[in-house]
């Protein structure tokens, strides 16, 4: 736990940076660093698959999507895009503390004390036997999201 302290502090710093910076490309850069640190923490806990998921989906897909949408919404033409309201800070603090409270209450006590090892074989066995329906439904959810997103974008005149 001591050797990962640096990464936890880096994650907190990067996430605060991604909220408080003004230039949107700097925000995206801190997001990239954040995702990479998250993936690294998963990998150092021997959960390599989760780290690879973070890297491939978040850093490979979400960041590229955000970068493309930055170009779609030009900041010079719409200067109100990154304006921050003072009221939102109070709401954000309340919501964050509420979430943290719920998360801390729902984690069972023993998992915080010892290291849990879940090899990928066990995960796959459960995915195929117990949670097979959820696995197949996930493909349908993805299909629905794809059709919805593409239909919405098609109506936009560039």
């Amino acid at each position: 736990m001591g050797s990962m302290f640096v990464f936890l502090i880096l994650i907190i710093i990067l996430s605060l940076l991604s909220i408080f910076l003004n230039n949107i490309i700097y925000i995206v850069l801190s997001l990239i660093g954040l995702f990479f640190n998250l993936a690294f923490i998963y990998m150092s806990l021997d959960l390599e698959f989760l780290g690879i998921v973070q890297l491939m989906v978040n850093m490979g897909g979400v960041v590229v999507l955000i970068l493309f949408s930055i170009l779609l919404t030009d900041q010079e033409k719409n200067p109100k895009l990154l304006k921050k309201n003072k009221k939102n800070y109070l709401l954000a603090t309340i919501a964050t503390s509420f979430f943290l409270f719920i998360i801390m209450k729902s984690i069972p006590e023993h998992t915080l004390k010892e290291k849990v090892e879940i090899p990928l074989t066990v995960l796959t066995k459960y995915l195929i036997t117990n949670f097979l329906l959820s696995f197949e439904l996930a493909s349908f959810v993805l299909l629905g999201v794809l059709i919805l997103a593409v239909t919405l974008v098609r109506g936009v005149k560039s």
């Binding site: 897909g61 590229v64 999507l65 796959t124 197949e136 299909l143 794809l146 560039s158």
Partner: protein, 127 residues
């Protein structure tokens, strides 16, 4: 993850960053100073003087490709653990079962690709 891997994962990017900055400092000392020229701080445009600033152009087609890629990325990431354990299951005789599972998973997403194809989202030149 062993301590050596952890340490190298930490160390090598830091070294790359320092190497990059260090080489830039060295080069700054050796390279000639920027002499003021007429077009030196303007952007290159094949001999003409650029009139406008950088236009933030993006056709919608790039955005559609990014969306389709994100969906396929999540799909392939979900399939990784199943394919990794396929050989083990095959030697135990349950390979056919996994084949059916993966066929249905892939077929649903391939259908999504066909939908985008037929609706013309992958077509870049509109006739």
């Amino acid at each position: 993850m062993s301590k050596m891997s952890f340490f190298l994962f930490l160390y090598l990017p830091c070294f790359a960053f320092l190497f990059y900055i260090g080489i830039h400092f060295l080069v700054k000392k050796v390279s000639p100073k920027n002499k003021p020229g007429q077009y030196q701080d303007k952007v290159y445009e094949c001999g003409l003087v650029p009139e406008k600033n950088q236009q933030k152009v993006l056709s919608i087609r790039f955005f559609v490709v990014a969306i389709i890629f994100l969906i396929f990325d999540i799909e392939t990431t979900l399939m990784i653990p199943v394919f990794k354990e396929f050989k083990n299951f095959n030697t135990q005789g349950e390979g056919f079962f996994i084949l059916i599972i993966m066929l249905s998973f892939l077929f649903v997403l391939f259908e999504g690709l066909l939908f985008c194809w037929k609706k013309g989202d992958l077509k870049w030149i509109k006739d």
